[in-house]
Symmetry: D2
Subunit: 142 residues, 4 copies
């Protein structure tokens, strides 16, 4: 059931080791732990691709995270989170994430991230080099 082209679907990959404490009383990985895995993908993507392009006083806030649970995960082992851009809006972008174990999808997720002016906490249009970088084909989910 490994999906043969899963690696090409996302431009950015992050590895996370599962923890014993990620489990719950069902004997599987707890749903909340998946939120940490998706965050791992989002933050690693951001530190590589968006943070270096922010001006002083700009920040990215998470507005929404949605996770679709596809298959149970079991401790021990590690997973890989694929991340890329699904949609670039005026002042926000939607990231797409896939949580994979051995090439098999365990969850997919979307994160809506908003560009804000840190002082006013107001959203700002994504412009200039940031928009050019985020709109490039090579950062898109395929």
């Amino acid at each position: 059931m490994t999906e043969p082209d899963f690696r090409e679907r996302y431009p950015h990959w992050t590895m996370v080791t599962l923890r014993f404490s990620d489990q719950d009383s069902t004997g599987h990985i707890n749903n909340v732990s998946f939120a940490a895995y998706v965050e791992a993908g989002r933050v690693a993507f951001g530190w590589e691709h968006t943070r270096p392009l922010l001006s002083d006083g700009q920040d990215l806030f998470v507005a929404n995270v949605s996770i679709a649970y596809r298959r149970e995960l079991r401790y021990p082992g590690s997973i890989e989170i694929g991340t890329g851009i699904l949609k670039l809006g005026r002042s926000s972008m939607t990231l797409g994430h896939g949580v994979f174990r051995d090439g098999i999808l365990a969850a997919d997720a979307e994160s809506v991230v908003v560009l804000v002016d840190r002082a006013s906490a107001k959203s700002q249009p994504i412009e200039g080099t940031l928009r050019a970088a985020l709109g490039a084909d090579q950062l898109a989910v395929r």
Copy 2:
């Protein structure tokens, strides 16, 4: 900014104490911790209203969780999670959740929960007393 009628909006309430380790390097409560708060609401709602009505071999699986972040939360203190039914489908229901601090909305969320036969892991129609209970007005988000 306390929303005067927030208490009436949800039929079920759960209290959660914030933890120092719920924070992250932004100095606020981390996004992942909100997933634990929403789970607290969903599980407490389920233990009270749905688990007692399940047949042997039936279980409820979480298919999707979506969280909209509205306001930062800061340690220390406690929050309240309101939970109720937003939509009752053939074999699934959508729960609505509100995470409140002192009556002010910090996040709202939706959880899609599916009734499954544990042996086959296949979804089952919600019927009989379970459907009657879940469809009742007093469990709905208002």
Copy 3:
């Protein structure tokens, strides 16, 4: 088995709600979660009794935490963490903690906390009003 005088043993009390995700695959609360409960007690004690007495540039660092597991905890419910001072050293203090569920001891713990100069990260002697406050009988574990 409730210990009748447990409430008098510790001068400071903190309440923590157990979370579904605190469990692990044993069906009990995971060992790591106890570290969060002990931290809850330590931080709440510090915010009330030590932080207000620190000079600018002083901070308290945790040097050691030791937890003795006495009884399993099970979700759901809440616990209370009792905290007080076991020993006051030259530049450090040892806090004693008891994690109780319905008056029954689930774990006891010790935290060694060191007074440091934040700029140099070097330890400092505990003196003056801070020493007087921390050495007072009413903050001691009995």
Copy 4:
């Protein structure tokens, strides 16, 4: 400051990826997260070296965990936990752990683990092949 022979000190090694949510408001990795790292080492050691040798009905319970914090850890990156046996008692063993980042010690820890009969929850003497395996030089902390 890399300790040149740290790799030889512990017979068993586990890698853990740091998570954004492992941090707290100090901007460092939270103390509680270290407990999860130590658990990662203990569980991985146990699944490899002790669990395969347990009889039906035997289990290993954690009685005590003590962590000495040596250096701050900062996100992102990964750490390695070295684990071995410090002391073999009649019915318990003390594991020694070192948490290393790039060969530099961030924390060391000890876990006391007790062999119990699961039905009675009473401790049992460590005997036979289990004692021989755990007492072997190659599982000791050096």
